[in-house]
């Protein structure tokens, strides 16, 4: 028996060492904020951040306490020649932690509803600027409705890179004649509500901007609306996060949040070059 007793202290110490190191690193690195998404640029993104932090605190407390409880149990009850106690269970304790888990997890989930609802349940403000986002292997195209405020009809049979009609805008439709198509840059005016109509013409892509805390798949056959109001001028990465083929990692564009006047100039320049 003595050899077994001797052999049980080193593993207990190692468990303590590894798990305490783990816990300290995770807590310190998350607390330092060294690895974090860049600052949010919409109210909705800030609501997501709030929910993220709330989750981080709750999960953090549970993570630290359960890992340390594991270490404590391993240390206290390592084989030192004692006889184990026969404890088949305890209904009161069982009820307590199941109850606590229900309150904590479902409560947190319910709190998170608000940040989700803000973007996905409610529509855009009336008068929002509509921009169509189309994913294709391996780029994004952005279409502005032009001065008439209406998008022209699309016909996939008309899609042609050669005639520089990448979206297949029907030339017979007067609504489409002033449509402006850009790729590479999605320009939006600062402080103005924007509604994006997200679609795809080949496989599934995704529109993700970290600063918007917003991801939306671009699904062929669907037009999915999302909306936001950016409140900080700047350039932000748009990336594709849905595996779309061999150029997936290169599929990139820039969200350019501009002042109102810069935005007007941008549209004018683009319209002239169409």
């Amino acid at each position: 028996m003595t050899t077994r007793v001797k052999g049980s202290t080193l593993p207990a110490i190692l468990f303590a060492l590894v798990i305490v190191t783990l816990v300290v690193h995770v807590v310190v690195i998350f607390a330092s904020g060294h690895f974090a998404a860049p600052g949010p640029i919409t109210a909705d993104a800030r609501a997501v951040d709030h929910q993220f932090r709330l989750t981080l605190y709750l999960v953090g407390v549970l993570f630290v306490s359960t890992q340390l409880a594991l270490v404590l149990g391993i240390w206290l009850f390592r084989d030192r020649g004692q006889r184990a106690r026969f404890i088949p269970g305890n209904n009161a304790l069982e009820t307590l932690w199941i109850g606590a888990a229900i309150v904590l997890f479902l409560g947190l989930g319910a709190l998170g509803r608000k940040a989700w609802a803000a973007v996905r349940y409610t529509g855009p403000e009336t008068g929002s600027l509509q921009i169509e986002v189309t994913g294709m292997q391996f780029q994004f195209a952005f279409r502005y409705p032009g001065p008439d405020g209406r998008f022209g009809r699309l016909d996939p049979a008309l899609i042609s890179a050669a005639t520089s009609n990448p979206l297949g805008i029907d030339p017979a439709d007067p609504d489409g004649r002033d449509d402006i198509v850009t790729s590479g840059t999605l320009a939006v005016p600062v402080g103005k509500p924007v509604e994006l109509l997200i679609r795809s013409q080949d496989v599934i892509h995704n529109f993700f901007v970290r600063e918007l805390r917003l991801q939306q798949d671009a699904v062929p056959g669907l037009i999915v609306p999302v909306h936001f109001t950016a409140d900080r001028v700047g350039q932000y990465d748009i990336v594709c996060t849905q595996l779309c083929g061999l150029g997936h990692q290169k599929m990139h564009a820039t969200l350019n949040v501009m002042t109102e006047s810069d935005y007007e100039n941008f549209l004018k320049t683009q319209a002239a070059s169409q």
């Binding site: 593993p11 590894v18 783990l22 995770v26 690895f35 974090a36 998404a37 997501v48 929910q51 989750t55 981080l56 549970l62 890992q67 594991l70 149990g73 391993i74 206290l76 084989d79 030192r80 184990a84 026969f86 404890i87 088949p88 269970g89 304790l93 069982e94 199941i98 888990a101 229900i102 997890f105 479902l106 989930g109 998170g112 989700w116 609802a117 973007v119 292997q137 996939p156 899609i159 890179a161 297949g168 496989v203 599934i204 993700f208 970290r210 991801q215 939306q216 798949d217 699904v219 062929p220 056959g221 990465d237 990336v239 996060t241 595996l243 083929g245 061999l246 997936h248 990692q249 290169k250």
Partner: protein, 579 residues
């Protein structure tokens, strides 16, 4: 193969088939690990020259082919095959006191279908265009239109689909067998509430396999029809790929996602429930204590399985699915955290006032609990659609899935291997090599997967062959390098395991039939067990599986087949008693 178990290639002996699954799992996991190391090496040193890679320097399509094949091999041929089919097929009959599975020929058929599926899958590497690049989730239209969408999407993707269909059939056969065996072939006295938790786990897992793989099978057939016979289940009208208008019309890409994840989420529990079962068994065994809250442990296994069928939509929060369904899927997903938390607390309570013996199986069971906590808690972030808005498809998801489904399940597999090795081979694995293996793997996997969470929070996106897209990705490169070094070291440490495993088959010490002083029935027979498991012995069960350290009992364990003893049995126990 030494001992009384006759090893024949087309055997119907569940022990032989269990070992066949075990070796198939070992080949598959080695393949899967090599593929992941190639990916990790490329992520850390994109310009580096690599073995096995045509051209030496990995192209994006080669990277994506590895992504697909690594995921597919690991999810299907390792995490489904090893915990359930290898150990379940071997030990389910032994643990319930049965001489064979209910349908031995079906059992054999199940294995050989699985084996055939593996060969067909690997063949995808060899066809023109190579292996598919659509990931293990194979979302159409990328996977539905043939090689026009990318290399590997021609013959490679078709072989992938055929492999999955064969695998589904094999798994369904084996699950029917598990269910029938558990219900019908229990020895007298092996009432449901006396079953070892491993048996409960295999039983619930079988139900999950039966229900979810049937749906995947159907979905796979539909996708095959779309690809090869011009139907449009998943393909809408107006698709233009590389300038060519496709003729499909009327299908829905989201339908595939619904069908796939209806399988895909239960699959996570198919991988992890057996690990939970063996962890409960091993924690009790080496704490010399009953499993804390046995009825709660059975109920929570069942609840996790049941709720697991109602949460598939949490993979689709940003897919364009109705946002209101997104929230209901979120609530159901959060509910799964409740039985999972209850299990964790019960495991901790099992240790409390125990007498913890740090044998290698116990080290891995304790490691399982730690990894399960870490990997499970990150799920709380991803279960919320608002938070998923920023974490979806980032490395945070990769970290979560690998810890909670991959590493935790692998720790369960290691715990099972070290625990049952003496029974399967009649020899013991070397304890000190086992300890080295555990500590290197435990520290190593944390070093690989903890930084991955930070990478994800910062916006690192998965399934990217390089960081040439968004500018901010380059800044995250040091994390990749760190993880790759950790992965290479951790993989190297598995050499210790393989050496220990194969060396111990030949040269390991010969232990008695019950080296761990355990209670369950497999330990009452010789090692390895005779072909008919229990010989002429009459099997009767008098008590539950976890009577450790029972007051007034001289030994600190009472095997399930030990009859009534007035010294410690306060109420009469009979084999027929229903509890």
């Amino acid at each position: 193969m030494s001992g009384p178990v006759k090893f024949r290639l087309f055997s119907t002996d569940h022990k032989v088939i269990g070992l066949q699954y075990c070796f198939l799992g070992m080949i598959a996991v080695s393949t899967g690990v090599v593929l992941s190391l190639l990916m990790r090496y490329h992520l850390a040193w994109p310009k580096g020259h690599l073995p096995f890679i045509a051209g030496g320097i990995m192209t994006p399509e080669q990277y994506l082919a590895l992504v697909t094949m690594h995921g597919t091999i690991m999810v299907f041929f390792v995490l489904t095959t090893a915990p359930q089919n290898a150990f379940g097929t071997y030990f389910l009959p032994l643990q319930i006191g049965a001489r064979e599975m209910a349908f031995p020929v079906l059992n054999m058929l199940g294995f050989w279908l699985t084996f055939a599926a593996f060969v067909v899958l690997l063949a995808a590497f060899l066809v023109p265009g190579g292996a598919p690049i659509s990931g293990w989730t194979a979302y159409p239209p990328l996977s539905g239109l043939g090689d026009i969408t990318g290399p590997g999407e021609g013959a490679g993707q078709t072989l992938w689909l055929v492999s999955i269909l064969i695998f589904c059939a094999g798994s369904i056969f084996s699950s029917i067998n598990f269910i029938a065996t558990t219900i019908d072939l229990r020895a007298p006295g092996m009432t449901l509430m006396r079953l070892p938790l491993t048996v409960w786990a295999w039983f619930f897992t079988s139900i999950l396999i039966l229900l979810s793989f049937s749906v995947l099978f159907a979905a796979g057939v539909l996708l095959l029809l779309d690809r090869s016979f011009g139907t449009s289940f998943f393909l809408p009208a107006g698709l233009v790929v590389t300038g060519q208008l496709q003729t499909h019309s009327g299908g829905s890409p989201l339908l595939w996602q619904h069908l796939f994840w209806f399988f895909g989420h239960p699959e996570v529990y198919i991988a992890i429930l057996p690990g939970m079962g063996v962890t409960s068994q091993v924690l009790a065994n080496f704490s010399r204590k009953p499993v804390f809250g046995y009825p709660a442990m059975v109920t929570t296994l069942g609840l996790i399985g049941l709720l697991g069928f109602g949460v598939w939509g949490h993979h689709m929060f940003v897919s364009g699915m109705n946002p209101y369904s997104g929230f209901s899927f979120s609530v159901l997903t959060m509910s799964i955290a409740v039985p999972s938390a209850a299990k964790t607390f019960n495991w901790l309570a099992t240790l409390w006032h125990g007498k913890i013996q740090f044998k290698t199986p116990m080290l891995f069971a304790l490691g399982f609990v730690s990894i399960f906590i870490t990997g499970g808690l990150s799920g709380i972030f991803l279960a919320q659609p608002a938070v998923d808005n920023m974490l979806h498809s980032t490395y945070f998801v990769v970290a979560h899935i690998h810890l909670v489904m991959g590493v935790a399940a692998i720790f369960g597999i290691f715990a099972s291997t070290y625990y049952w090795f003496p029974k399967m081979f009649g020899r013991a694995m070397c304890e000190s090599l086992g300890r080295w293996h555990f500590w290197l793997t435990f520290v190593g996997t944390y070093c690989i997967f903890v930084p991955m969470h930070f990478l994800g929070v910062a916006g690192g996106i998965r399934r990217y062959a390089d960081d040439s897209g968004a500018g901010y990705l380059a800044a995250l490169q040091p994390l990749h390098t760190f993880m790759t070094v950790a992965a290479l070291l951790t993989a190297a440490a598995q050499g210790i395991f393989f050496y220990n495993f194969f060396n111990s088959i030949k040269n390991g010490e010969i232990p008695g039939p019950n080296p761990w002083n355990a209670n369950t029935l497999e330990w009452t027979v010789s090692s390895p067990p005779p072909p008919d498991n229990f010989g002429s012995e009459k099997i009767e069960v008098f008590r539950g599986a976890y009577d450790y350290s029972v007051p007034n009992s001289a030994a600190d364990f009472i095997p399930q087949n030990a009859p009534f003893d007035s010294a410690y049995d306060t109420i009469p126990v009979t084999p027929q008693r229903e509890s």
